[in-house]
Amino acid sequence: MNSHNASMSGSRLFAAYLGDIRFELVKMLRTPMFAVPTLLFPLMFFVLFGVVMGSARGNGQQSLYAFASFGVLGAMAPGLFGFGVSLAFEREQGMLLFRQAIPMPPGSYLLARMVMAMIFVALSSLALIAMGLLLAHMPLTPGQCAAFLAINVFGVMPFCALGMWVGTLVSGQAAPAIINLVYIPMSFLAGLFIPMEVLPAGLRQIAPLWPAHHLLQLSRAEMGLTSMGSPETHVGALLGVTVLFFSLAMRRLGGRGIRLFGGAGARPGIGLPLRRAVNIGVFWIGVGLVIAGITGNNAPRAATKAAATSNDAGGSVPDASGSSAPVGVAAPDQPVIADFDAGGATASYGLGFSASDDKMRGGDSSAAQKVVEGALEVSGQVGTAIQYPFAGTSFLPNGAPGIDWARQGFMDYSRRQTLSFRARGDGREYMVMMMGPALDTIPAMYNFVAGPDWQQVRVPLKDMASIDLQRVKLISFGTMAPGAFRFQIDDVRVE
């Protein structure tokens, strides 16, 4: 009786960890408030946007974009809700303290929850893959399927950390509402439901703040779609968010005497300064990674046309970020690019304005231009064949006739402040786009309305800084909104 052996055998300990995972999984599967939105919403949205609307437009690209987007959506919910809402409830209801009084194995609480969230993500990703293959008939390679699964399953971690932190701050009653306030706006701002291009420039520029943005860009790059930034930056930012919010959450719980890792808490002694140094170090590493992710390379990346043969990706993919391309020639001192007063669409430097559309990218939009009363008039029709249609007029500031796009030169506008022009038209909204090295990328955009009267438009170039202003290849005026359009521009300047 007196010789009590309090040590656990390895296999019993392993069984305890496993049992906690199973318990957590069963618990969440029995909670419809959690399981239904987590598992069903991504599928529902994919069927709507990827299968029904995608095939209505006869467009595989659309399905693939929806596939990537709703995979990310499926990774957000289990982390945010699984950690946030239940942590808030259990903290409030004394469960966290109770678990600390009983000999739950160290870290098992967190591990069980994280694995539970990962299993939920895996289920929704696998269901998306099945639907993508069977319903949307997407040409996914086994490699792409595996990458999709892995990105989403590991992508749940920053959302677990974020949810956990929220769960330490708010009450159980408030948690679902607060988590939704994170979840829904972030899905929109990261471009899961609507193309980022539709958002105002300010919101587009802060996109790297959202972990969902980084995850989406990673997933898109892996699917061979247009994406922004480099994978290293995204992985770094996601790791940073995970580490930062996890350490914030642990600090907050620790302040209330809750130790999710079990074991003895900090006690005065030799270990304390070291422990404190590690805590502070981890916190700042997280902050550093997040900042690197936010400020890091966010230049558009071309779609890798190697999507169908993604196995040999690598050497053949051009350096889409263009960061290693030579800087463009400095912009000439003279501010005026074109006033169209000479009767032609020529510019004072570069390759003059020419009507442009999306046919090169597989679209069905059309555009025509002519000079009318000393202004350039552009008209045509924007189609719906591709995800990002476009029609309008384009100007290559350092372009030369007769060579292909890839070899057209860059212009360095980094020392200029403003692009200005006058515009009038049919009252629709138009955009100015500036594009860097690669054609099939997300350009910098600025929206303006062309009304019946001439109107001066001034575009601050700092708003266009989502592309590298040292390497501007193209400036376009036009629209992505389907339908017929007509507008005029005049007196285009960069100063």
Partner: protein, 302 residues
């Protein structure tokens, strides 16, 4: 290497919450094989004492020791079972699942079916926790507390919400566990629970131990008695007598509370020849507690 006689103890434990001293140098010790009942008014520091012994809080000064170790050590915690007061378990899980999960944390637990049978909760074992009554929830939590074959069991108000029958059943299991060598520390509001089960009672007030001993010892420590009678004497007259602590009138009967019943009786019989229906009552544990934890109570009787 004999096991220490005390399984858990607090040595001069101080704990402040802001300016309020929840524990003010509390000494407490649980011996092997005994049931120690922790009693005292609300806010006396019982829960804080338990929290310290469980390692959920740290003493500001003094020490908390569990099986000779830091209470936060997992090896120490593998030897205890815990039933806490204010917890809500997941409403979608079932008592059988909770007990199985908790048992998996211990080196040599009881089988889940054996625990369920022992508590007689077969009927509710597979019902969602959220659909159980308050008393049934306490039974499930009791199952989680005992399933790990603990050497020391912490029971915080275990019978709140139980009907008389279920309470009796739980008491029986507690007595059986004691027979099997399990030690138990119990906090309770029901003094009859302490009187029925406890080998030893520790009375805590304002963060200090004011008395400890068997139920009889605690009672004996308290000399307070109450005298009830019918008399024509005025309340004021009686209040002026030496040794009288309280005088009140209830349903035509006078009640006098005193520590010196003999003197008061002599005075009463001398002053009122018509006095009738005299009754002298000894203090119950409740009276003892009331006296021990009175605002002007003397310090520790220990």
């Amino acid at each position: 290497m004999g096991a220490p006689a005390s399984l858990a103890r607090l040595d001069g434990a101080h704990k402040n919450f802001g300016k309020i001293a929840a524990l003010d140098g509390l000494n407490l010790e649980i011996h092997r094989g005994e049931l120690l009942a922790l009693v005292g008014p609300n806010g006396a520091g019982k829960s804080t004492a338990i929290s310290l012994l469980l390692g959920l809080q740290r003493p500001d000064r003094g020490a908390a020791v569990l099986f000779g170790e830091d209470p936060q050590s997992i090896d120490a915690r593998r030897r205890i079972g815990v039933m806490m007061q204010e917890i809500n378990l997941s409403p979608v899980m079932r008592p059988r699942e909770f007990i199985t999960q908790t048992a998996s944390y211990y080196p040599s637990p009881y089988d889940t079916p054996a625990v369920i049978k022992r508590l007689g909760i077969e009927k509710i074992a597979d019902r969602p926790y959220g659909k159980l009554s308050g008393g049934q929830k306490r039974q499930a939590q009791f199952g989680m507390a005992i399933c790990g074959r603990p050497e020391l069991l912490f029971l915080d108000e275990p019978t709140v919400g139980l009907d008389v029958q279920s309470r009796g059943a739980l008491w029986q299991v507690v007595r059986d566990l004691l027979h099997e060598g399990c030690s138990i520390i119990l906090t309770t509001h029901y003094l009859e629970e302490a009187e029925a089960l406890a080998d030893r009672v520790a009375v805590i007030d304002r963060g200090k131990l004011v008395a400890a001993g068997t139920v009889e010892e605690i009672r004996a420590n308290v000399s307070r008695k109450s005298i009830v009678c019918r008399t024509s004497l005025s309340i004021e007259t009686m209040r002026a007598w030496p040794g009288v602590q309280q005088v009140s009138e209830k349903a035509g009967r006078r009640q006098i509370v005193t520590q010196d019943a003999e003197t008061v009786l002599r005075l009463l019989l001398g002053a009122d020849s018509g006095v009738s229906d005299i009754e002298v009552r000894a203090a119950g544990l409740g009276d003892a507690l009331a006296e021990l934890t009175r605002d002007d109570a003397p310090g520790s009787l220990q």
